[in-house]
Symmetry: C2
Subunit: 212 residues, 2 copies
Amino acid sequence: MVATNRAYGGVPAEQRQAQRRAALLAAGLDIIGTHGHARLTVSGLCARAGLNERYFYESFGTTQDVVVAVYDAVTGELSAAIVTAVAAAPDEIRGKARAAIAAAVEMLTDDSRKTRVVFVEPLAAPVLNARRAEVARTLTALIVGQAQQFYGAATALRIGPWGEFAAAHLLGGLAETMTAWLRGDLRITRDVLIERSTDLFVLVADHVVSQA
Amino acid sequence: MVATNRAYGGVPAEQRQAQRRAALLAAGLDIIGTHGHARLTVSGLCARAGLNERYFYESFGTTQDVVVAVYDAVTGELSAAIVTAVAAAPDEIRGKARAAIAAAVEMLTDDSRKTRVVFVEPLAAPVLNARRAEVARTLTALIVGQAQQFYGAATALRIGPWGEFAAAHLLGGLAETMTAWLRGDLRITRDVLIERSTDLFVLVADHVVSQA
DNA sequence: TGGATCTGGCAAGACGGTCTGCCAGAATCG
DNA sequence: CGATTCTGGCAGACCGTCTTGCCAGATCCA
C-alpha cells in the first residue's frame, strides 16, 4: 500500500473509498435505526455492509463517529426536505405549517429507521445530545423566522421565551405523535395525522401571538 | 448457608435482604438517571450500593431487571403524585390540569435523574418500550376520564382517536419542555413552565372538545 | 465458648468486543 | 509477464464484563 490511488474493477480509488464509506453509513442507519446505537459494533457493521473490518478504520475512528455521521445525514436530509417544502408552499401560515409538517412526517414515516435516529437516539447517545439541541434550535429559528413574516418582526420579538417554550412543546408533540403513530397506537391515517398536527400547530401559534 | 433466616446486626434476615435490594435500586436510579441504562454494570452497581457483587444475584437476575424495577418505582411514584394532586384540586378543568402538571413537574425537576428515567430511558431501553406505552395509556385514560367529568360521557366518547392524538401530543410536549427546561434551554422559571404548560393543555383540550 | 452463618474481597474462566497484523488470491499497471 | 496493490478472511493480543467459587473475618445462637 505505497501508492493508494489505483483504479480497481474499473472504479478509481477515491470513488471506491466513498462507496465503502456510504455502505458503512447505510449499514449504520440500518443497525442504529433498528436496534439502537448501543448495538452498533465494528464487526456487526462491517458484516452488514459486506466489508472487511479493516475498512471500518479507513473511514471512521470509533463507532461513535458512525453514530454522529448517520445522525447528521438523516437530520440534514430532514432539514432540506422541510426547507424545500416550506419554500414551495402557498404564502399563508397554515399552508407553510402544513407543508413543513407533511414533509417531515412523510419522510420519517416512510422509513421508521430514520424516525428512531431522529427522535430516540439523540436522547440515548451522549455524543448526540449537543447536536440534538442544535437541530432543535435550527427548527425553532425556522418557526420564529416564519412568524416574523406573518406577524411582523416586532411581534416575533415580543414572543421571546414564551415562543421558545411553545416551539419546544410543538416539536415534542410532533415527535411523540409520530412515534406513537408508527407504533400503531393512534387509529388515524397518516393524512389525518398531518392535518391534526397542523391544527395544533396553528392553534398554538395563534395563541402565543395573541398573548404576546 | 443452610438456614438463611438469622438476625444480623440486630436486623432480621428478611429486612436485611430488603435493605440490600433498596440499596441496589437507589444505586440503580443514580446510575441510570445519570449515565443511562447502558452504563449499568453489576460491579458498578454493587460498588455504588456498597455491597458485594454476590448480593446482586440475590435480588436480580440481570441488569435489565434492575432497569425495569427502577422504572416501575419512579413511574409508580409519579402516578401516585398525579392522582393525589388531581383528587385534591378544585373541581374545575384548569385547576385539575394545573394540579396534575405541577405535581409531575415538581417531582421530576426536583430530581433530574427521575426525569431521565421517565422520559429518556424508556425510549432507549428495549425492555422498557412496552412499559412506556402502558404508562402513556394510563395517563391518556386519566385525561379522558377527567374529560368525561367535565364534558359528559357522550362528548368524551365522540372525541375518540382525535382525543388519543391530542393526549399523545400533550404528553410529548410536556416531556420535551420539561427536559429542555432542565437543560437550561428555556429562559423561564419553573412556575411559569407549569403555568404555560397548563395554558396549552387547556387550549388543546377545549379545541378538541369543540371539534368533536 | 464453639459451631454455624453472614459478610466483603478476590480470583478465574467464559464471553464478546476492539484493533492490529498476516496471508493468499484477484486485479491492475508498466 | 512480473511487480505492485487491492481485497477478504482470519488469527491473536488486549480489555471489560459476567458469573461462580473460595476464603477469612465478623457476628450470631445454643
